[in-house]
C-alpha cells in the first residue's frame, strides 16, 4: 500500500460513477454541488471527474483559492514593501505571479527586488535569523490550513528574539462565505463538498450551522479521485433523502473537533476581522489579523509604505467565477487577453485557481 494508488483506483471510481448515475436517473432538475476548496477544483479537472458524472449532477467551483481571493491592494502593498531597500519578501510560489494594479512580484524580482520562494514560513524565520541586517516579510496568504503555521512562525520569531521578521497577512476563514453563498438565490446550492485540509484544522463540526440551520447537506471530502466521487455520492443520497447533515468522507484525516492545538495557536496570534475578498467584497468576520500583543510582527502596522492607487482590471469576471455564478469559459478575457503567461486575474495564475484549472485541463 502506498496510500496514493489505492485512492485513485479506477474500478472504485467507476463504481461510484455507476451508482451515482443510478441514483439520479430520471431527475428533471439537476443537483448543484459546490466544491469550496481550490484543491478540489484542481483535482476535479485533473482527474476528469466531470466527464464521469451524469448531467443531473452539476459541480460548481467556489471561492476557496486563497490566492484568487486576495485583493489587488494586498499585492500592491507587497510590491511596495518589496521595493524598500534592505527588504526580503518571502512567499509561497503562487503569489509571485499574481498581478497587482500595475505589476507583479515576478516582474519586481526581474527588476531587482529580493523575493524568495519558501516552502514553509519557518524557512522565512530562518532567513531572518541569517540576515539580521535585513528585514524579512512573509506573505501570509491562506485559509485555516496555513494560518496556524504562520502563527507558529511568529511565535518562533518571538522565541528567537528576532526583530526583523514580519508577516503581511491576508488570512481568511472558510465557513462564513459558505454561509453567505448558501443563501444566494441565484446559486441554489444543493450541497457542499467541504474542504479536506481546512477541515483537518477546524473540524467537521464547523459546518453544523450550515447543515442544521441553513439546511445544506455538507460532506467533508478528501482530494483523491475516489474521495471526490464518494463525497458526491454521499451528497446525492442526502438530497434524495431530504436530509441536511454534516458527513465526514475524509475520516482518515479529519475529526469532528479538528486540530485543537493548531486552533489554540491560531487564536493566540490572530484575531477575527472583516476582510475584503477579491471580486466578492468585504465579508464581516471572515478574516484573521495579527492580535495586538504581536502587532510588532504585522508588516502593515509596523512598516509604513506608500502604496499605489488601486486599479481593477476591467472586464475581468473573477468575482462571478469565484462565487460559482459563471464558468471561466463565460469570461470574455479567458484564454484571449488572460492567459497563464499574461494573467489579468489571480484565478488564472494560482495553482488552485478555477481559470488556471480550466485553461490547463479543461479545453
Amino acid at each position: 500500500m502506498n496510500y496514493l494508488d489505492e485512492f485513485r483506483d479506477r474500478q472504485v471510481v467507476l463504481g461510484f460513477a455507476e451508482r451515482i448515475r443510478g441514483l439520479v436517473e430520471g431527475r428533471t432538475t439537476p443537483m448543484t454541488f459546490m466544491e469550496i476548496c481550490g484543491t478540489h477544483t484542481m483535482a476535479i479537472y485533473q482527474y476528469g471527474i466531470r466527464s464521469l458524472l451524469p448531467a443531473e449532477v452539476r459541480l460548481i467551483s467556489g471561492p476557496g483559492c486563497p490566492v484568487c481571493v486576495t485583493p489587488n491592494g494586498y499585492v500592491d502593498r507587497a510590491i511596495a514593501l518589496a521595493r524598500l531597500p534592505g527588504t526580503i519578501i518571502a512567499t509561497f510560489g503562487d503569489m509571485v505571479r499574481v498581478p497587482g494594479s500595475s505589476t507583479s512580484l515576478m516582474e519586481e524580482r526581474a527588476r531587482g527586488a529580493d523575493i524568495r520562494i519558501v516552502y514553509s514560513p519557518l524557512d522565512a524565520v530562518a532567513l531572518a535569523a541569517r540576515n539580521p541586517q535585513l528585514r524579512v516579510i512573509f506573505l501570509g496568504v491562506g485559509f485555516e490550513t496555513t494560518a496556524p503555521t504562520i502563527a507558529g512562525s511568529i511565535l518562533a520569531a518571538e522565541q528567537q528574539g528576532l526583530a526583523n521578521y514580519f508577516v503581511l497577512t491576508a488570512h481568511k476563514t472558510i465557513p462564513v462565505p459558505m454561509q453567505i453563498l448558501a443563501d444566494d438565490p441565484e446559486l441554489r446550492i444543493d450541497g457542499y463538498l467541504c474542504p479536506a485540509h481546512v477541515s483537518a484544522i477546524i473540524g467537521a463540526n464547523a459546518y453544523r450551522p450550515l447543515a442544521e440551520k441553513q439546511g445544506i447537506p455538507c460532506v467533508v471530502t478528501g482530494f483523491e479521485s475516489t474521495d471526490v466521487m464518494q463525497g458526491v455520492e454521499m451528497l446525492v443520497r442526502q438530497v434524495l433523502a431530504g436530509e441536511s447533515r454534516v458527513e465526514n468522507q475524509y475520516r482518515r484525516v479529519v475529526t469532528a473537533e479538528g486540530n485543537v492545538r493548531a486552533q489554540a495557536v491560531l487564536t493566540r496570534v490572530f484575531t477575527p476581522c472583516d476582510v475584503a475578498w477579491r471580486g466578492i467584497g468585504v465579508i464581516p468576520g471572515s478574516g484573521l489579523r495579527i492580535a495586538e500583543p504581536y502587532a510588532r510582527y504585522d508588516a502593515e502596522r509596523a512598516i509604513p509604505v506608500a502604496v499605489e492607487a488601486l486599479r481593477e482590471h476591467r472586464g475581468c469576471l473573477c468575482g462571478e467565477i469565484l462565487k460559482g455564478k459563471v464558468s471561466p469559459f463565460d469570461c470574455p478575457l479567458f484564454a484571449t487577453t488572460c492567459t497563464p503567461e499574461a494573467p489579468v486575474g489571480a484565478c488564472m495564475v494560482s495553482s488552485e485557481g478555477t481559470c488556471a484549472a480550466a485553461y490547463k485541463y479543461g479545453r
Partner: protein, 337 residues
C-alpha cells in the same frame, strides 16, 4: 498588464514563454525559421554529407545532485540533442563560465565526470573556452556546449512526421531528474532516494534506428517535461496525441513528491528519456528493442496519435476521465495550502 520589456525566469522554462521569446524575437532576428519547425538540432548538408549541429547552455542549481552534476548533464544533453535527430555524435565544444571563488576541487570533479561521460557516449571534446567573472556575477559554474554529429543516409527523423495511428513510446520513468534536483535544493527538506536519470541516449537511439522508416519522431522531454514536448510534436505534425495516464511509468518517490508539492509529473524535466513516435505495426518491436537496452528497461507505450488537428494533446486519466494537456505555462510552482 505585463511589462513586455522584462525578461522573466519563465522565459527560460522551456514552456510557452520560451516559445514566445523565440518566435517573437530570437528566431526572426537571427534566422527566420519558426520555432514550430525546430528540432533538437539543426541538420545541415555539406558536400552530400548531412551533419546535425546543436548548442546548449547549462545553469543547473545545485551543480551537484543525486545521479549527476552540471558536467554530466552538459555532455549527455548535447549527445542527446544530436541523437534525437538520428545523428551519430562525433565532436563537441565546452565553454566554461566560472564564478570567482569557485572551488578548484569541485571543478576538477566536474571535468573528470565530463570526460567520463564523453568517453562513454563516444563523443570527443575537441575545443573549448574558459572565462572567469567576478563573484556574484554568475552562480559558481555555467557551461555552454555545442555538438556535431553525422546523419547517415536514409535516416529521416523529424518532429513533423507523426501520423494517425502511430504509437508514443517512452524509455522509462518520468520526472526523475526534475524531482532529484528539486529535492537537492536548499530549503526543501525532502528525503527521497530519487536520482537524476541523466544519461546519453545515443546507444539506445542506434538500436531504434534499426526500425528504419517506422521510427518517425524522437525527442527528449527535458525542460517542460513530457507534456510540453508532446505538445510541440503534435503542433509540428498537425495531429492529436492521446495519452493514457495509467501507462505512464512513474517511480513512487516521484509520485509522492509531486503529490506533496502539487506538481504534475507530466511537466517535470527528464535528462535520460526519449519519446519515440513509431508506426503502429512496429511499435511492439520498437518497445522490445528498448526494453532490452539498459536505458529502456521500464519502457512503455504511453499513447497514440488519434487524429488530425492543430496540435491537440489529451490525457485519458487513470480513473477513466478525459482532459486536455497544455504546454507548461510560466514556472512550475509549489502549492500554497
Amino acid at each position: 498588464m505585463m511589462d513586455k520589456d522584462l525578461i522573466l525566469l519563465g522565459h527560460g522554462s522551456g514552456g510557452k514563454l520560451s516559445h514566445q521569446l523565440l518566435d517573437e524575437l530570437i528566431i526572426p532576428t537571427l534566422s527566420g525559421v519558426s520555432v514550430a519547425g525546430q528540432n533538437d538540432a539543426a541538420v545541415v548538408e555539406h558536400n552530400g554529407q548531412r551533419l546535425a549541429f546543436t548548442t546548449d547552455s547549462y545553469v543547473v542549481d545545485p551543480i551537484f545532485f543525486p545521479g549527476g552534476n552540471i558536467g554530466t548533464l552538459a555532455v549527455n544533453g548535447t549527445v542527446n540533442d544530436l541523437a534525437m535527430m538520428g545523428a551519430r555524435p562525433l565532436f563537441m565544444s565546452v565553454g566554461l563560465i566560472l564564478e570567482e571563488g569557485m572551488s578548484r576541487r569541485e571543478l576538477a570533479a566536474i571535468l573528470a565526470s565530463m570526460r567520463e561521460a564523453a568517453d562513454g557516449a563516444g563523443i570527443a571534446i575537441v575545443t573549448g573556452d574558459t572565462k572567469v567573472v567576478p563573484r556574484g556575477k554568475a552562480d559558481r559554474l555555467f557551461i555552454n556546449t555545442s555538438g556535431v554529429g553525422v546523419v547517415e543516409n536514409g535516416v529521416e527523423i523529424n518532429g513533423c512526421k507523426a501520423r494517425v495511428g502511430d504509437r508514443v513510446i517512452i524509455n522509462g520513468t518520468i520526472g526523475d531528474h526534475g524531482i532529484a534536483v528539486l529535492a537537492a535544493r536548499e530549503g526543501l527538506e525532502l528525503s527521497t532516494d530519487i536520482e537524476s536519470d541523466c544519461a546519453a541516449l545515443n546507444g539506445l537511439v542506434a538500436e531504434l534506428l534499426k526500425e528504419g522508416d517506422a521510427l518517425r519522431v524522437l525527442r527528449d522531454p527535458t525542460r517542460g517535461g513530457v507534456a510540453t514536448t508532446l505538445k510541440e510534436i503534435a503542433i509540428q505534425s498537425g495531429v492529436t496525441v492521446t495519452l493514457r495516464e495509467e501507462s505512464l511509468p512513474l517511480k513512487n518517490g516521484v509520485k509522492g513528491v509531486c503529490s506533496i508539492l502539487g506538481l504534475d509529473p507530466l511537466y517535470v524535466a527528464n535528462e535520460g528519456k526519449l519519446l519515440a513516435i513509431v508506426a503502429p505495426e512496429r511499435a511492439d518491436a520498437a518497445l522490445d528493442r528498448m526494453c532490452q537496452h539498459p536505458l529502456g528497461r521500464d519502457a512503455a507505450i504511453i499513447g497514440e496519435v488519434t487524429g488530425a488537428s492543430d496540435g491537440r494533446v489529451q490525457l485519458e486519466t487513470a480513473v477513466g476521465g478525459m482532459r486536455g494537456v497544455e504546454m507548461l505555462a510560466g514556472e512550475q510552482l509549489p502549492r500554497i495550502c
